[in-house]
Amino acid sequence: MSELEQMYREVILDHYKNPRGHGALDPADATAEGQNPLCGDEVTIFVRFGEDGETIDDVGFEGRGCAISQAATSMLTELVKGRTASEVASLPKEDLLEEIGIPLTPIRLKCAILGLGVLKVALHRAKGTPLPPEWQGLADDLTI
């Protein structure tokens, strides 16, 4: 397979064209939005917890962006459903990258993990789960 065929393999294009978990959840127990300053892409994530207040029952997203960012966020929703907030807060990005399963340049890596970062910020805000330094930039609001 050429590099091109690998990056845009069928599963990526399928998640891009038919994103899972697409759409806002209203009401939601946790939400956050983030941008990729490089391209202005945006992702907003919505989370609903189960009765224990810990387990992610449902997760949805809205946004616009490249195939990699949108497919990755779609895959993320499948990956985290049924897990607890603290599990997801400490979920290494490698788990998601493994799921995506394509070679990524450093710039495209940012696209791939945007959704995961935004989800971590949402959980941090709603549940006080730890937000490692790597993701803290996303949570800053520095509006003039």
Partner: protein
Amino acid sequence: MAVSSAKALEVERLRADFAVFDELVNGKPVAYLDSASSTQKPRQVLDAMREFYEHSYANVHRGVYTLAERATEGYEGAREKVRAYINAPSNREVIFTRSATEALNLIAYSWGLENLGAGDVVVITELEHHANFVPWQFIAKKTGAQFAHIPIDDAGELQLDALDEIAARGNVKVVANNLVSNTLGTINPVEKLAVWAHEHGAIMVVDAAQAAPHRHIDVQALGCDFLAFSSHKVCGPSGAGALWGRRELLDAMQPFNFGGEMIRSVSLERTSWNELPYKFEAGTPAIAEAYGFGVALDYVSEIGLDAIEAHEHELVVHAMEQLAEIPGVRIFGPPADRRTGIVSFEVANVHPHDVAQILNWEGVAVRAGHHCTQPLMTRLGVAATTRASFYLYSTHEEIDRLVAGLLKVKETFGA
């Protein structure tokens, strides 16, 4: 505009000045279509800078020894080249900065903080680069001035009939506009805006970052008060830029940075500023970069800005014709005769990042993103565009490779 075939031959000759065109990207020669972002550098500039470092380098304006004299001569010689390039009345009005961005920030801070307040209006446009947008937005907030924008029409042209309404909002104090839009290539009616600005007692600030590399600039004919551009977009090194400002304004302004070189005398009680232009050049400047900037201006001047403009026009006509034939491709901005060598477009249902990624595998380098013009993206109703931009070394063949690459994009995405 007709371009003779002799001109096309010259492009091949010029390309030999740029070693980068021997470079293979993914096994293919690079088709560099991102010159609006930054241009490639000719051997002449690189050699001259190396020579300067090896034979004439020291800090400027300080030593009495020979090397310092040579360095100062090289640096001040570059200032004179910038002056001539934009037909400024005096080289005391030419300030070296780090970039166009720094030049625009200098104006916003040094002029804006002192001269703006409640009841005043700062006017920018919907197609401004963030470098000429955000500094004004920030200073307007800080001083309590209003921040108004001139909207564009669907073809990416400024809607000047909005000016009356803007003037009714308060005292218009500054109008800031790019002469050429970096995203759409639109050539803006800066002369008209300058007249309007002056009628209202405002100053006219021109961001010429995308204009100076591609067409003749004459600050006196433009009728503006400040003008900024960057070396790296005109075949020079990064790290150098220029600001031109009218003497009376510069004289009345406070410095932007403080430190060495910009002072006349310093004591525990008080400090007085150096004369123009040094008042605005605190610290050791980018000496060799400024020198290389001057060499780059010589390089493009020798080729001739008319020839460059005509060549780019031919390329943009070709590109727009070719792109228009691809179903699902939509071009943003004005017709070819109202723009420079810049084409922003979208491919239906494919994000610009993906477009650029697939083109990269074909060795075609284009820019994908918001191009530092997010308010314009909002106006166009997109998050990002793909942009191809040309310069004196760009060829028809590179555009044909772009087109072939776009067919591959569509095939990959089944779009």
